[in-house]
Amino acid sequence: MEKAKKTKSIYYKFLGKTYIKSDSVVGAVFILPAVVLGAIFVIAPMVVSLSYAFTDANLLKLNEVGWAGLRQFKKAFTDRFMWNAFKNTMIFVVKVVPLQLLAALGLALILNTKIRGNTFFRWAFFCPVMLSLAVTSFLWMNLLNPEEGLINALLKVFHIPPQPFLESPKQAMNVIVVISAWQGAGYQMLIFLSGLKNIPPELYEAAGVDGAGSGTKFFRITLPSILPTFSFVLVTMLIGAFRLMTQPMIMTQGGPTDSTMTMSYYIYQQGIKYRDVGYSSAIALLYTLFMSTVALTLRKVTDQKD
């Protein structure tokens, strides 16, 4: 008690609240580097993006930025290349999210049982997750080469005619869907597995004593228990899919005939390749509004179900 008195803290008031002085000093020192870098490299880009959306800023002439009002937004709504990119991204999202989600959940449910070779299967399905997006893209680009790629060689064995894959406007986006699901599903499988592991086994035992069959157990215990995990995975996967960019950037550069141009890639190209920072910022702002609305609505809907 004596010692505690010796180190008694000095208090001070700020805006009607009492703080401990030494805590404030250490707190300020600890948080300052993160606040400074966060302000410059996280917050400032958002502010820049927001304000440049109303200007005609050009990457090469950032000193002479003129006010453009809502002109960039008007341009966006009549820009058929932007709408094409938006449409492509939505097609990607609508296809990849269910495919990857079901694959991940299905694998997790099967591997959550005491099946033979469990550990091996887990590693096998997780294997593609270890490849970076760049490696995945370069690898599949070569596998899918129409003339000398492995996939067409395999199809030939099964007497299926060679396919153009990434060189066909009809197939390219579907190919990117499959590749992305292939690469990512193992990761969400792991999240589902850790969610399933957290279900207390007593629940199943109690249900078993009550005479519940495996179907009832699945719908009444398993599914409700992993619903929070499910909604988390769904939202993160959705946002990730909205931001598709690396795969088309490497494999197709948005082609053929703009069939794999996505929103994130379009925003990037407008700003970097065409140096139209103002326009790029305007579309980014619109797209952020769109993504936030979808993500927050979805979160609300899934949270209410709990």
Partner: protein, 300 residues
């Protein structure tokens, strides 16, 4: 053990019926088939990196495409050696990746753990506001296009050839998500530890370094591993920042290997395999931390 006496013991026993066995076998067969679909591209990548380009094309339509052309291990790594011989900066790009990753991990651990601790334990004017901003940044998906970041780097003069590396590394140091992760971890630690240290006359700073940090190895390891994987795999921002091969990290250098004329497929596969090895090693040896991090993000 008492359940064995219960009447439904008989029922439980009967459940292992022929139908059950068939179902289970079917599940395993289905899994095995899926397994082949998931694994064959990776297997082919690795095996092809051990062949010459001629061997790859000659065996493409045969099952031998999934096996090494020779079992003479000494001949396996020709393509890897060729990579170093044909590209002046291949070795350099590996070194670049290692350097960029190390600096990023150090910066991320230091900055975010400090911030996380401040938000978890210390109250000071503005701490609540900052905490809310951190949470908002995690929840609201902002189209974090790198265009405005590029504009900022340009205005700061960080796009010159010498300073580009700084401009590439520093923006990755702070992460709302890692701050949040550290904060949650520190909140979960018993306060008594710090209070005891305090009564012994230890200041906040020395308490942090002497007591908190050593007890937080798990969270530091988890964040370090996730940072490493993110930094090692970074592509889009890296290809924008580094057009000069001598500055490029491995992931961007792959582009050069892949588009090299005349193309050598075995060399491409060697480069792809090579750039995956560090990540695979981390996954195999740091499983525990990865599962921890994954379940943390899943249960948030």
């Amino acid at each position: 053990m008492q359940t064995q006496v219960l009447p439904n013991f008989v029922k439980v026993k009967r459940k292992i019926s022929p139908a059950h066995v068939v179902l289970k076998t079917a599940a395993i067969l289905g899994l095995a088939l899926l397994c082949v679909i998931f694994l064959f591209p990776v297997l082919w990548m690795i095996v092809s990196s051990l062949k010459t380009q001629d061997q790859i094309y000659a065996q493409l339509s045969s099952w031998r495409t999934f096996l090494p052309a020779t079992w003479n291990v000494g001949k396996w790594f020709v393509a890897y050696k060729n990579l170093f011989d044909s590209f002046d900066y291949f070795g350099r790009s590996i070194l670049n990746s290692v350097i960029y990753c190390s600096i990023t991990i150090l910066g991320v651990l230091l900055l975010n753990s400090f911030a996380g601790y401040a938000l978890a334990r210390l109250e000071f004017p503005g701490s609540r506001v900052i905490g809310t901003i951190v949470l908002l940044l995690i929840i609201v998906p902002v189209e974090t296009s790198i265009v405005p970041l590029y504009v900022i780097l340009k205005n700061l003069g960080l796009l010159t050839k010498e300073l580009r590396v700084v401009g590439y590394l520093i923006p990755n140091f702070v992460s709302a998500f890692y701050i949040f992760m550290f904060r949650q971890f520190f909140i979960g630690m018993p306060k008594e530890l710090e209070e005891a240290a305090r009564i012994d006359g230890s200041g906040r700073l020395s308490t942090y370094f002497r007591i908190i940090m050593p007890l937080s190895k798990a969270i530091f390891a988890t964040v370090a591993i996730f940072t490493f994987m993110g930094a090692w795999n970074e592509y889009v921002f890296a290809q924008l920042m580094f057009s000069k091969p001598e500055q490029q990290p491995l992931q961007v250098f792959l582009q050069l290997v892949n588009s090299f004329n005349p193309k050598d497929l075995s060399m491409v596969m060697a480069a792809l395999t090579f750039s995956t090895i560090p990540i695979a090693i981390v996954y195999i040896f740091c499983q525990r931390y990865i599962i921890e991090g994954v379940s943390f993000s899943g249960l948030k």
